[in-house]
Subunit: 222 residues, 2 copies
Amino acid sequence: MEDRGTFDHLPHKTIARLSQYRRALLLCLSRGKSHIFSHEIATIQHITPVQVRRDLMLIGYSGTLRKGYNIKELISLIGNIIDSEEGLKVAIVGMGNLGRALINYFSGKRHKLSIIAGFDTNPDKIGNTMNGVPCYSATRMREIIEKEGIQIAIITVPAENASQTANELVAAGIKGLLNYTPKPIDVPEYVYLEEYDMITTLEKVAFYVKMKTLEEKGITTI
Amino acid sequence: MEDRGTFDHLPHKTIARLSQYRRALLLCLSRGKSHIFSHEIATIQHITPVQVRRDLMLIGYSGTLRKGYNIKELISLIGNIIDSEEGLKVAIVGMGNLGRALINYFSGKRHKLSIIAGFDTNPDKIGNTMNGVPCYSATRMREIIEKEGIQIAIITVPAENASQTANELVAAGIKGLLNYTPKPIDVPEYVYLEEYDMITTLEKVAFYVKMKTLEEKGITTI
DNA sequence: AAATAATTGTTAATAAAATAACATTGTTAT
DNA sequence: ATAACAATGTTATTTTATTAACAATTATTT
């Protein structure tokens, strides 16, 4: 009996950090390091060593005292947790600036997760290849998703088309969605949805800058 | 005695939702609606009505029973909380695909928050204007930030230049940073930092897709 | 050989966020 | 007039996430 599925109670934040640890670890490995301490990982990620150790405890990995964690082993374990054995295919819907940015960020970085198709409605883009990713007509979305077995889609279309696009993707059998439009979408419970709204994030930064400014004024004028 | 500063204990998540509420409200207003119920806001944002009411309670806004919340008033209150009276200026550092995407997303959407400068090292880009935003040489960053009083910067340079860029921005007097590179940066405590890592987010989606798939297999095969 | 220091792994405590429970209050219907 | 209903506002509870505390262990120093 395998113990895949053991990891289904990991905190969401831990999952995100594991992905980041892996990237840091890959970098360390490429520099010839073989072991690493929790406080080293912590420094790279700007978090506390305790948090690192706790995350690693949760995934059941043990380091050796005074030597730290074996980088190769840890990378491999994180891979077992995050990656799908067979790999997952990803599509970008909307090949505008953001879509292309994502392709550049991602191209060839993870072999278990690859962007293999882009979709757009602009005839000038259809038929082109960007960074190795072919751009298809949005009308062929379902066909290609089914044919290629694409399971994840990133929505980078204009906000007004977001929900329509999401519906089509769900109908096409997509299992995970990453929505970069500011328009919240909704999906059946069997689809995992992650929303990220750039405008909100910027406004949040603005709010905290304002707060810091007010604080300063408070301190200097009273 | 003013009560600005009253809002400095709002939960981070509430701040983010307020920004989203405002956007939804502006849309409703433009459609001629004058009042809105908590459950309507909730439906738009795919959250619960309780969450909405709680957030509004925290900012001290009261609706009227059976009529809901006055949209104009609420928009204005959220503006008082999030926006700086004088407005804040934003710079984009790195005018690649992501930088340009952000400019498109944002251009002219918030008059209290405007992207007024872009920086890049590519001579082909320097001197151009993109969506009304001039692109300057990265060597002039400090000069222009100081001259224009820019307080927020969005980092969209290649990962390997992230920390260097951040240092320069901090030295130039930036108060808030939004880092879109996958490389964590660090800044003095008087600078507000928000990091967003696209690769991690995608890997997180991949993890949950994997989990859902395993669950299904579990259910159908056992 | 003993003492010290450095590090892991785990449990306990705290803090932050979301959810539930429910009291209150107008409005409508009977 | 009274009952039923639909909404808000608030307190209490639960859940999630982080941080702190500390025991255990091994390497190093004296």
